[in-house]
């Protein structure tokens, strides 16, 4: 079990990880422009989709243009945060040239740190800060469009729901990443990326069965829809509690699966 002192130590290491990651990124300047292009394209398709949709109708299942736009802002921000620091570290594990396949994971395992924390926090992708800014821009624009003054409860529940959503995102990524210990060559997180695209739109827009799946089974809906509902004031408090409980359960499950994967690695690898 990770000790408190050990966890503080890894937090102190974050500035060093950021610095080194930045140096690594700077070695490939072309990536910067490709990254910029992808970000803008991602933003444009999201905004265009909403404009086309709400050019024809005023609202769908209680979601109007402003609240859907706020949800897109949340989606973009959450995606950016994942790209900023959890994603790069976990993604480096998988694939044909990934650390597990190539055996470089041995060195990660032998660092005197909590392996899960190290894997999650070691790589940073600072380009994602640009994505974060774009997402924040869309979010602020949407808030302005709403033209309402947010109550203390709305702000509070939004912050809690967003935190809970981020934990859920981390836990799901951890679960998908841990599968790599069983099949090192497969990029399982790509499967998740496909599913996560569905979180661009409010869960209310999907048919009932799919909504259930996306809320409880592979809860990408929890990550964006619940915070957006908190913001518009349509969130029932019970859902906020449910979201927190789900986050705790998934975090525990993800951590457990990752540990089982580590044990498998140490008994099976040669």
């Amino acid at each position: 079990m990770p000790d408190l002192e050990g966890n503080m130590h890894i937090l102190r290491l974050i500035p060093y990880f950021i610095k080194v990651s930045f140096q690594e990124e700077a070695a490939y300047r072309a990536n910067f422009f490709i990254s910029l292009f992808t970000s803008v394209l991602n933003l444009a398709t999201g905004v265009l989709g909403i404009m086309i949709l709400f050019g024809q109708i005023d609202s769908i299942h209680g979601w109007n243009e402003a609240s859907t736009m706020a949800l897109l802002g949340i989606y973009l921000m959450v995606t950016a945060l994942r790209g900023l620091f959890i994603g790069p570290g976990l993604d480096a594990l998988a694939g044909m040239d990934g650390e597990i396949w190539a055996g470089k994971f041995d060195f990660v395992l032998l660092r005197p740190l909590n392996t899960q924390a190290l894997v999650s926090l070691r790589k940073w992708r600072l380009f994602s800060l640009f994505d974060l800014l774009l997402g924040l821009g869309v979010f602020i624009l949407a808030l302005a469009k709403m033209q309402t003054v947010l109550s203390a409860w709305q702000i509070f529940s939004f912050v809690i729901a967003l935190f809970s959503g981020l934990v859920i995102l981390y836990a799901i990524l951890l679960i998908f990443s841990a599968l790599v210990f069983w099949s090192p060559g497969v990029l399982f997180t790509w499967v998740f990326d496909g599913l996560f695209q569905m979180a661009r739109y409010p869960m209310g827009m999907y048919p009932g069965w799919l909504r259930l799946v996306l809320t409880w089974i592979i809860p990408v809906g929890m990550i964006t829809t619940i915070p957006a509902e908190a913001l518009t004031g349509s969130l029932e408090p019970v859902m906020l509690v449910a979201s927190l409980l789900l986050a705790a359960a998934l975090f525990a499950a993800g951590t457990a699966l990752f540990q089982i994967g580590l044990r498998r690695y140490s008994s099976a690898s040669s």
Binding site: Q23, E24, F107
Partner: protein, 330 residues
């Protein structure tokens, strides 16, 4: 205090490997009813290594060297047997343990590819909590011993294999580990770089008293560095002792090297059973004889042949090991 750094008792490792049958039908079948083979990689080996020793771990490919090294470092879990290193059970990977050991693998790199080594070293220093003063002192010492000052600011991907191996060694020693595992550290290096690394390892061991376990396919690494060797074959320990006695223990024959005074016909020479002429060139002659018969045959040769010079030698270490690797029987 027990100065034994590594204690290994009846250590075994068996891998479970899925059996992949030939043919589509059988492949589909194995998806639902997978069958496994148990492959024993290490079979009940025992040894001790004392503080400051440099031990050469040798054996053919697939003998179980790397598996043993991985168990010692904590990367894999033993199937059975007991194993402690510095008083720790390695597989638990206790942070206190990991701070005191290090591993260098000739075929895997721990350096960050796109940035200069110095930056990787700094991060490692922080990860291992090395105090700033000690970090500088250790690094300066290693840089001087390895003569690598000019490498520190070049991106690792621009370094040659030998230069990179210097960096790997430096990275592994920054936090002054008490035990160092070296898995084929000279793999692919040219002869002068091999020599340089050997000299570095010998110097560093003398200065720091680090315990070293080294595997290598280059016997020169082992003969230059390791007073003691452990030989494993098919997962079993075949020899553990001084390098100089390896040939005596494992090779049941000796080599007699003769120089004759004049060209002589060998027809009159009667060699006993088991002895044979292995080499003949001009006046030089090599005869392989059973170890026990060496004195008698030597006396006999001196009587029957016009000998100007005669030496009795153990066979070359490579030849002994080759016989173990290829035949298993001697």
């Amino acid at each position: 205090m027990n100065d034994s750094h590594i204690q290994v008792r009846n250590l075994s490792k068996t891998y479970r490997v899925p059996v992949r049958p030939e043919g589509l039908r059988a492949s589909v079948g194995s998806l639902f009813h997978p069958t496994y083979d148990d492959i024993p990689a290490v079979k009940g080996i025992s040894f001790d290594v004392h503080a400051g020793e440099v031990v050469g771990f040798i054996g053919p490919n697939g003998a179980g060297k790397t598996t043993t090294l991985k168990m010692l470092s904590g990367l894999i879990h033993p199937t059975s047997g007991e194993l402690t290193v510095l008083g720790f059970e390695p597989w638990k990977r206790d942070a206190k343990y990991l701070k005191r050991i290090s591993i260098v693998m000739g075929n895997k790199s721990q350096m960050l590819w796109d940035i200069p080594p110095m930056d990787s070293f700094r991060v490692l220093g922080e990860i291992y909590n090395v105090p700033a003063g000690q970090f500088k002192q250790t690094l300066d010492e290693i840089i001087e011993l390895l003569d690598m000052q000019e490498l520190l600011t070049k991106p690792v991907r621009n370094l040659s294999l030998g230069e990179r191996m210097k960096c790997e060694l430096a990275a592994s020693l920054l936090y002054r580990p008490a035990v160092l595992f070296l898995d084929e550290p000279t793999l692919g290096l040219d002869v002068s770089m091999q020599l340089r690394l050997r000299k570095f390892l010998a110097d560093y061991n003398r200065r720091s008293g680090v315990t070293v376990i080294l595997t290598s396919h280059y016997m020169a690494d082992v003969t230059a560095l390791c007073p003691r060797v452990i030989l494993i074959h098919n997962g079993s320990l075949m020899f553990d002792g001084e390098l100089s006695s390896l040939a005596r223990d494992l090779a049941p024959y000796k080599l007699l090297r003769l120089t004759l005074l004049e060209v002589t016909s060998m027809e009159s020479l009667k060699l006993p059973e088991g002895a044979e002429i292995t080499e003949r060139e001009g006046l030089g002659l090599s005869i392989r004889v059973p170890r026990a018969d060496a004195p008698d045959i030597t006396a006999n040769l001196l009587q029957t042949l016009p000998v100007s010079d005669l030496t009795v030698e153990d066979p070359p270490i490579e030849a002994v090991i080759d016989r173990v690797y290829t035949g298993g029987s001697l």
